[in-house]
């Protein structure tokens, strides 16, 4: 339960073992590499950026190939398969697969080519369809559309963008080209949007007719030397050919589905190599040796040393990190506290001199979450769901596993508080018994009390939990100060606050007005109040005198001290903030009650039962989802804002070892 101590390490190996050493380190994933060594006359850095770029590009191509496969030959995936985690390969399997990376890359290129082909062909289809559409009104016409006329006559083929009858056209043409006498008008087809015309006239009249037609906005059709029906057929053939090509390419892609795994592997393979080359880039090397510097945890150090020295001729030196070093942080906790490490990480890892708060955070996290959701059935569902996922997907990624386990513990706490407060799907037990079995006397009695009927009691309990939570935070502050060797800071920043806030609370409890308001059954004797008041005043004076202690001038010090004492208002709002335990707890149970009531409205008949089951299932899934989310967010908030505000700053840098950061596979060393 702590921040794992780190050691600085210097590895000096022979250049011929460089590849093997790096790969071993990568598979082990326990060493964070820090390139602190500078180049000098003897040691030089190697520039492998270009190879790294090639690897990165290959990884991207492989990723795209997997994407193409997923599009045209989707994998069967269960809803929960995203929990499954990466598949584990042994070193032998890895070597065997790695040997084929060139061939697999060819397949990836082939997939890209096929996808490109599909893309190009798909772009042709709308063009062809457009042409066919334009040709459709001319279907019955039996001359090619580029027919110009005979020796003595001229033909005009085209359309006018409106519906027009033969008589109207003749009139208009007569008005526009009165001299033309030999016009033969034919309507090929007509619709609301356009009228397709075939006009023949003697050669002498051609110019006049053409001018007249221009004025009528005569448009020429898509030209082709074929009769429209034939051209139509030709286009159709082309279209079906393009479609067949697309189908062929799609099938070719689908046929490559068995290669999916090897392409996934090759993607991971190049990702790994590119990471390795990233490391290689920063290494300093002489003619025969190379140097690696970095951090390794104290626990992993001996094993790493042994493993490396067994395989290669290397020299390893460990040293304690110095004050100025930016030592990475990794947390190690027991099974109970480990799940909340992710929560702490999402805030910030402990900075220098801070302790790992996981254990305390875990205790309160589960309790607070349980109080907010507080329904036995919901808790049991959460336990069952997370337990199922954890047992089914043994290979789950670490972060996800922690998250699942956290919700399992939260579920246990939720079930516990649910029974304490007598809530099982809200008041479902009573509603079912009343509606369907006519036994209104059956209900799940709370072990402690029902917050809906005694909200004031719940509120006081929430405040009590809040005060315990905040005081624990102060306690950790005190502990941290003492551990870092300054008892004085501990007294100034923690003990005085204990006296002020604690004294204030006790004093309030001696006033009957206050205890009546909260519905408490006791009032502390006046003597306790006097003692508490004295303590609070001492605390207040202490805070005014000390919270500005870094300032030299006394005037400034007192001003800062007064401002520090003003911080007591934040304690007030912090404690009030725990009223959300009541609010969210009530929200869960009231909404459950609403759904139960809605479901039972049809009555105790068989259709009534069906309606009840439907409303029950939908309503409670919704309620569980929304309130679990609410409980999660607000538990985090209470931890981050109220609790961490008292003692925790964070700012530690996460330990990021040189390891296999892949998407589908991980390689396991068999030792």
């Amino acid at each position: 339960m702590a921040v794992v101590p780190m050691k600085k390490v210097l590895i000096c190996g022979l250049k011929k073992d460089r590849k093997g050493t790096l790969e071993l380190l990568q598979r082990q994933g326990v060493l964070e590499i820090s390139n602190v060594l500078q180049e000098d006359d003897m040691f030089r850095k190697m520039d492998v950026t270009s190879s790294k770029t090639v690897f990165e590009r290959n990884a991207i191509i492989a990723e795209q190939a997997v994407g193409i496969l997923d599009k045209y030959a989707p994998e069967d995936k269960g809803m929960l398969d995203s929990f499954a985690g990466r598949e584990i390969l042994t070193v032998e399997q890895y070597e065997a697969n790695a040997g084929q990376h060139d061939e697999t890359m060819k397949k990836a290129y082939r997939l890209q080519e096929l996808a490109k082909q599909i893309g190009e062909n798909s772009a042709v289809i709308p063009k062809l369809e457009q042409q066919m559409e334009a040709l459709a009104p001319w279907k019955s016409f039996d001359l090619p559309l580029d027919f110009k006329g005979t020796k003595k006559s001229v033909a005009f083929i085209g359309s006018i963008q409106e519906e027009i009858s033969l008589e109207q056209l003749r009139e208009q043409l007569g008005a526009l080209a009165p001299e033309a006498e030999t016009i033969d008008l034919n309507i090929v087809s007509s619709s609301k949007e356009q009228t397709c015309l075939f006009i023949v006239c003697a050669k002498g009249d051609a110019d006049a007719v053409e001018d007249a037609l221009k004025k009528l906005n005569f448009v020429k059709p898509p030209l082709s030397s074929l009769v429209p029906a034939k051209r139509q057929q030709q286009l159709e053939e082309e279209l079906s050919k393009v479609k067949a090509e697309i189908a062929g390419a799609e099938k070719a892609i689908a046929d490559m589905a068995p290669d999916r795994d090897s392409i996934k592997f090759v993607m991971d393979y190049y990702t790994m190599r590119s990471e390795k080359y990233g490391v290689l880039n920063g290494l300093v090397q002489s003619r025969r040796v190379f140097l690696i510097t970095g951090y390794v945890s104290v626990e992993a150090a001996p094993a790493l040393e042994k493993l490396l020295q067994d395989k290669y001729e290397v020299v390893i030196e460990f040293s304690e990190p110095e004050e100025k070093d930016d030592v990475p942080v990794v947390l190690r906790n027991n099974k109970f506290a480990q799940p909340v490490e992710g929560v702490i990480e999402s805030y910030s890892l402990p900075g220098q001199g801070e302790i790992d708060p996981s254990m305390v955070v875990a205790c309160f996290y589960y309790v607070l979450f349980g109080l907010m959701l507080s329904d036995a059935a919901y808790g049991l569902i959460m336990i069952a769901g997370t337990a199922y996922c954890l047992t089914k997907y043994k290979n789950m990624e670490d972060g996800m596993r922690k998250f699942m386990k956290m919700f399992m513990y939260c579920g246990i706490s939720t079930a516990f508080w649910g029974f304490m407060f007598g809530s099982f799907f809200g008041d479902a037990v009573n509603v079912i018994a009343t509606t369907f079995f006519n036994r209104p006397d059956i209900r799940l009695a709370p072990i402690w009390f029902e917050p809906v009927s005694l909200p004031m009691k719940m509120l006081v309990f929430a405040f009590l939990i809040g005060i315990i939570h905040l005081f624990t935070g102060l306690g950790i502050k005190f502990y941290t100060c003492v551990r870092n060797g300054s008892l004085k800071d501990g007294i100034y920043d923690a003990v005085f606050w204990y006296m002020l806030v604690g004294g204030g609370i006790v004093y309030l409890l001696t006033m009957s007005m206050f205890t009546d308001m909260l519905g408490l059954s006791f009032t502390l004797p006046a003597a306790a109040g006097t003692v508490a008041a004295v303590l609070a005043v001492i605390g207040l004076i202490g805070i005014v005198l000390t919270s500005g202690r870094e300032s030299r001038s006394w005037f400034k010090r007192i001003l800062k001290g007064l401002y520090g004492a003003y911080g007591v208002t934040s304690y007030l709002s912090d404690i009030l903030s725990y009223s959300r335990l009541l609010a969210l707890g009530l929200a869960t149970s009231v909404i459950s009650t609403v759904f139960n009531k809605m479901g039972s409205m049809v009555g105790g008949t068989i259709p009534g039962a069906i309606v009840f089951i439907l409303v029950f299932l939908i309503g409670h899934s919704l309620n569980l989802a929304i309130n679990a989310l609410g409980a999660y967010v607000h538990t985090n908030r209470l931890q981050f804002v109220e609790f961490f505000g008292k003692f925790y700053e964070g700012g530690g840098r996460k330990f990021e070892p040189f390891a296999i950061h892949t998407k589908y596979y991980k390689v396991k060393e068999d030792i």
Binding site: E345, M456, S577, R580, A583, A587, V590, I626, N636
Partner: protein, 160 residues
């Protein structure tokens, strides 16, 4: 006019559900627009932005809660609904904190959620902190809920 009391009390219940619901609808709506924008760029962030989008939704639930408690207390959901005018006014007043604070805090929380969604889009590892900013706004909705609940439960014991 002798039923005026129950009318006023029901008005209070309805206002709480109405205003808090409107606020949440607006808040979740604007957060949803931002969330959809992020998902077009990176579908993997869906679950994170969904959580942020849902944060302003709680006010609507609190409004429902106040409305429902009021309805049960005044006997609309079964039982006798014999409420004096004075008590009717008391219930109406008790519902108002949730109605108004619910409305405004949900909208403001929605805006904070939009900003946090932007934060997650750029720095997904800062999700824990991004969640806190909208949650800070919610505190005031919770305080209003608290006062409304305490007042409603308290009215039953008032002689009026």
């Amino acid at each position: 006019m002798e039923n005026m009391g129950v009318v006023l009390a029901l008005l209070g219940a309805v206002l709480a559900a109405l205003f808090a619901g409107i606020g949440s609808a607006i808040g979740v709506g604007i957060a949803g627009e931002a969330a959809a924008g992020v998902v077009t760029e990176d579908p993997n962030k869906f679950s994170k932005v969904l959580v942020l989008q849902l944060l302003p939704g709680t006010q609507g639930i609190y409004g429902l809660l106040i409305g429902f408690i009021t309805l049960t207390q005044i006997g609309i959901m079964g039982g006798s609904s014999d409420i004096s005018v004075a008590k009717g006014f008391l219930y109406l007043a008790a519902c108002l904190p949730m109605a108004f604070v619910g409305l405004y805090s949900a909208i403001k929380q929605g805006k904070a959620a939009v900003a946090s969604i932007g934060l997650v889009a750029k720095k997904p590892d800062q999700f824990g902190k991004a969640m806190i900013f909208p949650a800070m706004v919610e505190t005031y909705a919770i305080l209003a809920l608290l006062i409304s609940i305490l007042a409603i439960f308290g009215i039953a014991g008032v002689n009026a």
